[in-house]
């Protein structure tokens, strides 16, 4: 039994089934990411100004990943055009470039960006305890953030001496051996703006270590994980779900590049449609990233 219009378009609607199907799927994906972005909007509007961070992500790496994704969007089109011209070799080549780009994107995400967050310590100081740490926060006094009409800084980040102390509820203090530039020179106006390249951590010498009392910290302190604040929760949720879409796309392309390409011998038209449909999905992935990149990395 053969379902009609799986390859050729139906004359009166002008559409083949797979193309209509993928567009409907894309519509539902738009609503899915729309819901997630609605979450982002709520979280950002609802956040206290000192709690919503700027410049936490590595912009050059993010830009690089954006380029990779755009490039893969071009290669998938080239691959489809090659197939339309019945140039099988070029089709294979461009498709390989596409899934390699997809894998590279995931590799950067999972090999560099996320692990950077997992190994970085951050904590919000409770307002009532802020005075104790003000030499690292730089809110009060001459040249302080309040004087510069900046929202107070209540965040300390850096590298803990011992990660077990962070997790162990029996230990009530966390020792930091290195802190970020903002906490090292907290009153510098230089810290008020985001930096293109993240600045290196400042190592503290033995004896100058910063000791945080867990009682002074808001819940959620520790590695840069979703529980630290709503920005990271949104970041991991949206980039995670986007990453799953990338992975799905890569698997589909791998299939069409490998066993799926055999269809060329029997029905190249259908293979061509399949690449087009997979390509449409891939452009959606690119399209979502175009919004994700500025709202998390830049703005």
């Amino acid at each position: 039994m053969e379902i009609p219009y799986t390859v050729r378009p139906r004359p009166d609607t002008g559409l083949a089934n797979p193309k209509l199907g993928i567009w409907l799927f894309i519509a539902s994906e738009v609503m899915l990411f729309g819901g997630l972005f609605a979450g982002y909007i709520f979280m950002r509007l609802g956040a206290e100004p000192w709690m919503w961070p700027h410049g936490w992500l590595n912009v050059p790496v993010g830009t690089f990943n954006t380029f990779i994704l755009i490039a893969s969007s071009v290669t998938v089109i080239l691959s489809w055009e090659a197939l339309k011209m019945r140039n099988f070799k070029a089709f294979k080549g461009w498709l390989a470039a596409t899934w390699i780009c997809g894998l590279a994107f995931l590799a950067v995400k999972l090999g560099k960006e996320w692990p950077d967050k997992f190994s970085h310590f951050g904590a919000y100081i409770k307002k009532e305890s802020a005075e104790k740490y003000d030499q690292y926060l730089g809110n009060e006094g001459e040249g302080g953030r309040l004087e510069r009409q900046q929202p107070p800084r209540l965040f300390i980040s850096g590298h803990p001496k011992n990660w077990d102390d962070v997790k162990n509820p029996a230990v009530d203090k966390i020792v930091l051996t290195g802190i970020d530039e903002e906490n090292h020179t907290p009153k510098s106006a230089e810290n008020d703006r985001a930096h293109f390249i993240p600045r290196a951590m400042v190592h503290l010498h033995e004896g100058h270590e910063l000791v945080l009392n867990k009682k002074d910290l808001l819940p959620g302190y520790g590695a840069f994980l979703p529980k630290l604040n709503t920005y990271l929760a949104c970041y991991f949720m949206i980039t995670g779900l986007h990453g799953l879409h990338v992975l799905g796309g890569v698997l589909v392309f791998l299939y069409f590049w490998g066993p799926g390409s055999k269809l060329y011998k029997t029905n190249p038209e259908q293979l061509c449609n399949r690449i087009e449909v997979a390509g449409l999905f891939w452009h959606l992935v690119d399209l979502v990233w175009i919004f994700v990149f500025p709202i998390f990395y830049l703005l």
Partner: protein, 630 residues
């Protein structure tokens, strides 16, 4: 169009040339890609969940009527053995255990799961996925759905969600207990003392993610099928109304469900990774940790965000529940009044308007969230507007009865009872559209009565009508008419005894979440209406007993029912009656072409009182009707 016709016919003939091998047992009955089998699988699974959801409610009605008294006989022992001590308390006399009663926590569990199961696992799978899968492709003259394997994937995704939901009853602390709306922050913190993944709240979310995925795949498939696989001659104006209703329903599911999926993912993050999407700063919950201490969340989240995303789905979901029902009733009313539907075009226009408006009314469920006057005015206006297309639908069906030659067989009885019942449900909803009334009525039994009139004697009656109507097509046998009528009259009386007093109770202020029906709370204000509790509970149990008649009829007719006299036992016009009963793989044994509208009953001058859509106009030789290759 002519080209389409030719291509379609060509395929049709192709199929029968090489499609005579029968699939094996597993491919035929379990991992089937045939839309009819998948429709039946959905319907049967959905009916099972409908009865499960109703069973939970019957137990809840016991505690509403009798409080903490032990359940009668060995029922309590059985329930305690199944659901465990998290849900059923021991009832003691001195030191002896004399029985078991639903615990207060158990009442929450059953309440949450009753709603979830009825909406997401009962009605949508039957009315949309079940009937839509079985009937819609037949009615448009398609050989199958556009993506048969996707269809199977959709069912099995649904099946996984069913397994997860059932499983959640048996983990520590039992199933989800924060209401079917799963409002945070309660939904974020409930069950947190148990395992991170294997607890009721988290399993509920995982189950919902699978359920939503299933709905999305199904919706894509339905819309594509509807647009692409219409038989030659099946123009937009010749589509049966049921198909239009399914099409719109699929669109609602496609666009409304994803925001709930994103909300479910956020809630999963809150529960599993400890994030604060829905956790406001400084939240204190006495049952969690030390009293008066804020919970261990970094905070900054918004519980109202969940409500927005949830109701963005759940209001269109209301139309997902009712539109397939209206579609089925329309088909059955037209067939059994032997008359065309009055205002077909107005009805199609009305459901388009309904679908559009249903996306911008959702916050009328949220008047209690402290919504300001501007937003409130907007949502009150759209809510009132949306009642207009609903009234058009009901009026059109009602007027279709006028002057018809009515046949009161079982499907027609259910379909005609649908009309006043849905009318009561709809009209009692209008006061709730207004902020000022809703603030008082919110979460009272008035609201319960309102939406149960829409979905229980509304949609579920339509589902019963549909089952009785299309059973002969699916099985080749008729259901028993006497048992069917008994089922109908019993259901109609019991269901009204059950829901009508709820309006009284609700207006007096009885709250929906009182586990003992209000006997221990605010007795002074609600006392005069509390005596209805026992009566309503008895009506609920009677309603349950009456459904046994249906189960018996359904099973018995499958083996012993009267064989269908011909392929078209109801003398109907639509295409599904042009196939054998049950239809074979590939559906139609002859190439099908459509020549006329869906409801050509009692056409003046015709030799019988129905003219099937596939019947060529008088004087046209059948051969010439197949267009030549253009």
């Amino acid at each position: 169009m002519a080209h389409a016709a030719a291509a379609h016919t060509e395929h049709g003939q192709d199929d029968h040339a090489h499609d005579h091998h029968e699939p094996g047992f597993w491919r035929k009955w379990v991992f089937s890609t045939d839309h009819k089998m998948i429709g039946i699988q959905y319907t049967v699974t959905g009916l099972a969940f409908l009865f499960l959801g109703f069973g939970l409610m019957m137990l809840m009605r016991w505690s509403i009527a009798h409080g903490a008294q032990a359940l009668p006989g060995s029922l309590g022992t059985l329930m305690h053995a199944i659901f465990g001590p998290a849900v059923f308390d021991e009832v003691k006399e001195g030191a002896n255990v004399v029985g078991y009663s639903l615990s207060t926590q158990g009442y929450n569990v059953f309440g949450a799961m009753h709603g979830t199961i009825m909406v997401f696992f009962g009605i949508v799978p039957i009315a949309f996925a079940g009937f839509g899968n079985f009937v819609m492709p037949l009615q448009i003259g398609a050989i199958d759905m556009a993506f048969p394997r996707l269809n199977m994937a959709s069912f099995w995704s649904f099946f996984i969600s069913c397994v997860v939901m059932i499983w959640s009853f048996f983990v520590e602390g039992s199933a989800a207990k924060s209401g079917w709306t799963n409002y945070p922050p309660l939904a974020g913190v409930a069950d947190q003392s148990h395992s991170v993944i294997f607890n009721g709240g988290t399993l509920w979310l995982i189950g919902m993610v699978f359920n939503i995925t299933s709905s999305l795949l199904g919706a894509v498939n339905f819309i594509t099928t509807f647009i692409q696989l219409r038989a030659p001659g099946m123009t937009w104006g010749r589509l049966p109304f049921f198909c239009w209703a399914q099409f719109i329903t699929a669109y609602l599911l496609l666009l409304a469900f994803p925001p709930l999926e994103s909300a479910a993912i956020m809630n999963l993050f809150d529960r599993v990774f400890g994030s604060s999407f829905f956790m406001p700063t400084g939240l204190v919950v006495n049952a969690m940790g030390a009293d008066g201490q804020p919970l261990q969340y970094s905070g900054g989240g918004s519980p109202v965000l969940w409500q927005h995303l949830f109701w963005f789905l759940a209001h269109p979901e209301v139309y997902v529940l009712i539109l397939p029902g209206i579609g089925m009733v329309t088909e059955i009313v037209a067939c059994n009044s032997r008359k065309p539907i009055w205002g077909y075009k107005a009805m199609v226009g009305a459901i388009f308007t309904l679908a559009f408006l249903s996306f911008i009314v959702w916050a009328h469920h949220m008047y209690m969230t402290g919504m300001g006057p501007k937003v409130s005015a907007f949502f009150q206006t759209t809510t009132i507007l949306i009642s207009v297309p609903s009234v058009i639908l009901l009026t059109a069906i009602l007027l279709s009865l006028w002057g018809g030659s009515l046949r009161f067989n079982t499907p027609m009885l259910f379909a005609s009872a649908f009309l006043p019942m849905f009318g009561i449900g709809g009209l009692t909803g209008i006061p709730l559209a207004f902020n000022a009334v809703d603030l008082y009525m919110h979460d009272t039994y008035y609201v319960i009565a309102h939406f149960h009139y829409v979905v229980a004697p509304g949609t579920i009656f339509a589902i019963f009508a549909g089952v009785y109507h299309w059973y002969p097509k699916a099985s080749g046998r008729m259901m028993n008419e006497f048992l069917g009528k008994l089922h109908f009259w019993g259901s109609l009386i019991a269901i009204n005894c059950l829901f009508m007093p709820m309006f009284l109770q609700g207006m007096a202020g009885v709250h929906r979440r009182w586990w003992d029906g209000g006997a221990s709370a605010y007795v002074a204000t609600v006392e005069p209406v509390l005596h209805w509790n026992l009566f309503m509970s008895q009506a609920a149990w009677a309603l349950g007993a009456v459904q046994l008649i249906f189960v018996v009829n359904f099973c018995w007719s499958m083996v012993r029912g009267r064989k269908v006299p011909n392929d078209n036992p109801w003398d109907a016009t639509t295409l599904e009656w042009d196939t054998p009963s049950p239809p074979p793989h590939g559906n139609f044994i002859k190439p099908i072409t459509v020549y006329r509208g869906p409801y050509e009953y009692s056409v003046p001058g015709a030799d019988k009182d129905f003219s099937p859509q596939s019947e060529p106009p008088a004087g046209t030789p059948a051969v010439a009707a197949v267009p030549a290759h253009a």
